[in-house]
């Protein structure tokens, strides 16, 4: 994992990135995302109904060990993180909706994470809970810079646009940084890990993207919203899961469980990147198509 210095550096960068993301938003964007509360509802259910179940099913199918099962189900129960917002931005999905969903799922995770863990991993351990200060921390990293960015953009469109661009560039840098620093440091771990664990952490993200998308489409969300929900569903808050594991377990058990969030975090960045490229292309195609289309008979 990362050293404490790198971690705090990363947090600061996250704050700057969200500042930039905020600068790309207006209050109207949030009002628009709230105009279809069902989108948030759909995202919420795909995150807290689909994902824990997918994780549990994958663990069973792949015959994971008890520790790995706990790790994977915990991963499945996690709320979304700021990473999902960055990818939502890059894929030209609805950033405002993504942020709303991250906020809602994080708040709800306070209650739902322990509940689901209890349900899916009965008797394994009873002490899973999200530390409250973590929620406060996430809200701080997410909300304050976002609001500040929005306010600044309103004050001066030029400054807003420059900050947005800087946030975007920094976002890309952080993603590359995560991948580049992680792999060489943990190559031994990568060598030792069984194929089942690889399959589990890769599939959790991918199946999450796919089901999140299909589920939203079945419930009649438009493609752009479905893509937003899809990213939000597949991308879980990996660092938060790692933190919970560290605070809840100790010794060898801790290391065995920790493997899952750590592996997940690496592969979700890789998978999200190419899914984002794909989604971005779709968004652009739709924009052009709408440009051409005729007015729906009203």
């Amino acid at each position: 994992m990362l050293s404490p210095l790198e971690e705090s550096l990363l947090s600061i960068m996250m704050v700057i990135i969200m500042f930039g993301m905020g600068a790309s938003l207006t209050f109207k964007d949030f009002k628009l995302s709230m105009r279809h509360p069902q989108a948030i509802g759909v995202g919420f259910s795909s995150q807290y109904l689909l994902m824990p179940f997918i994780a549990f099913a994958l663990a069973r199918l792949l015959n994971l060990t008890v520790e790995q099962t706990v790790g994977l189900v915990l991963m499945g129960c996690m709320p979304g993180g700021t990473t999902s917002n960055i990818f939502a931005y890059f894929s030209r999905s609805l950033l405002s909706l993504s942020i709303m969903m991250t906020i809602c799922s994080t708040l709800a995770g306070f209650i739902l994470v322990p509940l689901w863990m209890e349900f899916y991993t009965q008797g394994i351990d009873d002490a899973f809970r999200i530390p409250p200060d973590q929620i406060a921390r996430l809200l701080f990293v997410l909300l304050i810079p976002t609001l500040l960015g929005m306010w600044l953009r309103r004050k001066n469109a030029n400054i807003g646009a420059v900050i947005e661009l800087m946030g975007g560039v920094l976002g890309a840098v952080v993603i590359v940084f995560l991948v580049v620093t992680w792999a060489p440091r943990n190559w031994r771990l990568l060598m030792e890990t069984s194929w089942q664990v690889y399959a589990a952490v890769i599939l959790l993200g991918l199946v999450g993207f796919l089901f999140g998308y299909l589920f939203s489409r079945i419930l009649k969300l438009n493609p752009q919203k479905a893509r937003t929900v899809s990213l939000e569903t597949g991308i879980q808050n990996g660092p938060l899961a790692a933190l919970i594991v560290i605070m809840t377990f100790s010794g060898e058990t801790q290391q065995l469980i920790l493997l899952i969030p750590v592996m997940y975090s690496l592969f979700i960045v890789l998978n999200s990147t190419w899914v984002t490229v794909l989604y971005r292309k779709w968004t652009k195609q739709e924009e052009l198509a709408r440009d051409q289309a005729k007015v729906e008979p009203s």
Partner: protein, 586 residues
């Protein structure tokens, strides 16, 4: 038998208000007694000096602004550069090729103030089209956007252009924003090609002009003071839809008259010095040139320039950040806006009037605009050759599917093949006469003789007049299809096809046919699958006389269009005919 009296009685004048009646009686209002366009520009700058004149708004909200005073000073300096440094003379043609940006009005105003003739060039032109236009106009200097420098480099040696001035879309943005924007355009969008043109930067040209002005105390007014309404102001190229492109020669008086006519229509809805107009249409197009650039400058409006309105999302920040009260557009632009959630949920509250032109405004689009935005959308009609406005719908009294009534001091008739006026309600070619009609085509007396007869402009549009003097467009004359001696108007067939919900758009053309002379063919773009050619033919047969229904329907992925979104039937036809010829040879 002539029906001149029908048209000469001008039944439409009953709908004129005071402003329009005043012009009809040729009592020119004080604010329109300008001898030339520069005189108007200078008067506006004097009236509205510190107000913001232009803002360029990029898709991400980045922007740069010029006040009336700045636009005036910069264009003065540019005029001095043209006259003193480049030694251009009165009447020399100077071309401008760029999308909407701050440099565009400065270059245009500077050229006109130098007494030169402006040549507007479509930035999307290919090398071949650019070469033709520069040669035809005999342009000696060119102001071009860096984005197109590579095209110019390849053809420059084949043109009479001696001086190239280059600029960028971020011209006069604040330095930090400018460098960020240039970096993005160069490295991310790869929109700015490398070139080795021997060109002067616009900012440098203007600095040179300022220095000369300070040293020699030049009064720029001396360049334009002796210009009259009879002097040529603009060569506006047209004919993308009728064959080889030719330059409509518009004199200062044409444009100033049209300005006054436009003003008589919109003036009573304008608060001088307080309006904010969105210019998403390209200014190299005559509609935006006369209406957005000139008419609203004269009214002290704040002009928000969008360099590229496609995709339409590019306009979102402009609506977010500025209190847009006027917008000009074509059917496709309004349609695109109405397909965006951010627009329909939060329509601009400040919007007063939308002005539509270029192509027919569809009734469905107009209706939806009124219900979503809650303000009028008025369709006008005109041609490049008429500066452009010939007809307009009085604001607040728009009629669906009508181009409205003739502008004040404009005569309009409908004539048959022999040029004889037709009876009421019968279709024929629309012809128009008035102070806004061009002098002729530049160096092209043959085409001029075809288009202008006794001062009447033959528009090539087939239309009808209703009893109370409202006009309706039926179709373009050259697109008319002759099936066994019956006239078929493609618009009518396309409208019928468009009523099928699965259809996005279509182009209907006439193709030579052994039995019927010409046969109706439809080229259709579907928005969703599940429609066969037979379905479309059947549908048309239920709505139209059977000879009008297409004999053949072909599905295409897209149709060729002009930059403003008009479907190019001519190109569809050319493609189809060349395919047929190729098939026959095999």
């Amino acid at each position: 038998m002539s029906n001149d009296h029908l048209y000469d009685s001008a039944p439409w004048t009953q709908f004129y208000d005071t402003a329009q009646n005043a012009i009809k009686g040729s009592a020119q209002a004080q604010e329109h007694r300008f001898p030339s366009i520069p005189a108007m520009l200078v008067a506006a700058a004097n009236n509205f000096g510190p107000n913001t004149a232009f803002t360029t708004c990029m898709p991400n909200g980045m922007n740069g602004q010029l006040t009336y005073q700045q636009a005036d000073e910069l264009s003065d300096a540019f005029a001095i550069y043209l006259r003193e440094t480049l030694s251009l003379k009165k009447g020399t043609r100077v071309a401008v090729q760029m999308p909407n940006c701050l440099a565009l009005p400065v270059a245009i105003f500077g050229i006109l103030k130098a007494g030169c003739v402006l040549v507007n060039v479509n930035p999307l032109y290919t090398r071949r089209e650019m070469e033709h236009q520069f040669n035809d106009a005999g342009a000696q200097a060119l102001v071009i956007m860096d984005m197109f420098a590579d095209k110019l480099e390849d053809i420059l040696h084949n043109t009479p252009i001696k001086h190239v001035v280059i600029t960028s879309v971020s011209q006069w943005f604040s330095p930090v924003v400018r460098s960020v924007l240039n970096a993005v355009l160069t490295y991310w969008n790869k929109a700015i090609p490398k070139h080795s043109l021997n060109a002067t930067l616009l900012s440098h040209a203007i600095q040179t002009g300022k220095t000369i002005q300070a040293e020699q105390g030049i009064d720029v007014a001396s360049y334009w003071q002796d210009l009259t309404r009879e002097d040529t102001a603009l060569l506006q190229y047209t004919g993308g839809t009728t064959g080889v492109s030719k330059g409509a020669e518009l004199i200062h008086g044409n444009l100033l008259s049209n300005l006054e006519q436009v003003d008589s229509v919109v003036g009573s809805h304008i608060e001088t010095g307080k309006e904010c107009v969105l210019t998403a249409l390209p200014i190299y197009h005559i509609f935006a040139f006369t209406v957005n650039l000139l008419a609203f400058y004269n009214k002290g409006a704040h002009n928000v320039l969008v360099p590229s309105p496609r995709p339409i999302q590019n306009c979102q920040r402009a609506f977010d950040n500025y209190p847009i009260s006027w917008i000009s557009g074509v059917n496709t632009l309004f349609n695109a806006l109405l397909n965006e959630e951010w627009f329909t949920v939060y329509p601009p509250k400040s919007m007063k009037v939308a002005m539509a032109g270029g192509t027919a405004l569809h009734k469905s689009v107009a209706d939806r605009w009124r219900s979503v935005v809650g303000s009028p959308i008025a369709e006008g009609y005109g041609l490049t050759e008429s500066s452009p406005v010939i007809c307009f719908n009085p604001i607040g009294h728009e009629r669906a599917n009508s181009i409205g009534i003739p502008a004040p001091s404009t005569e309009v008739r409908i004539v048959d093949e022999q040029g004889v006026t037709v009876p009421l309600g019968e279709p024929g070619e629309i012809i128009a006469r008035g102070p806004q009609i061009m002098k002729g085509y530049w160096n092209n007396s043959e085409e001029t003789a075809k288009a202008l007869k006794d001062g009447w402009l033959y528009t090539g549009d087939i239309g009808t007049m209703s009893e109370d003097g409202h006009f309706h467009i039926v179709d373009r004359k050259k697109d008319m299809i002759l099936v066994s001696g019956f006239n078929v108007y493609p618009n009518e067939v396309e409208d019928s096809i468009a009523r099928l919900p699965q259809v996005q758009e279509s182009a209907v053309i006439g193709v030579p046919d052994e039995q019927t002379g010409e046969a109706v063919h439809a080229y259709v773009v579907l928005r969703e699958q599940g429609l066969t050619a037979q379905d479309i033919i059947q549908h048309c047969k239920t709505e139209l006389a059977s000879y009008k229904a297409p004999k053949k329907v072909v599905f295409w992925d897209e149709l060729p269009k002009t930059p403003v979104g008009k479907v190019l039937r001519k190109e569809v036809r050319a493609t189809v005919l060349s395919n047929q010829a190729a098939a026959k040879q095999q």
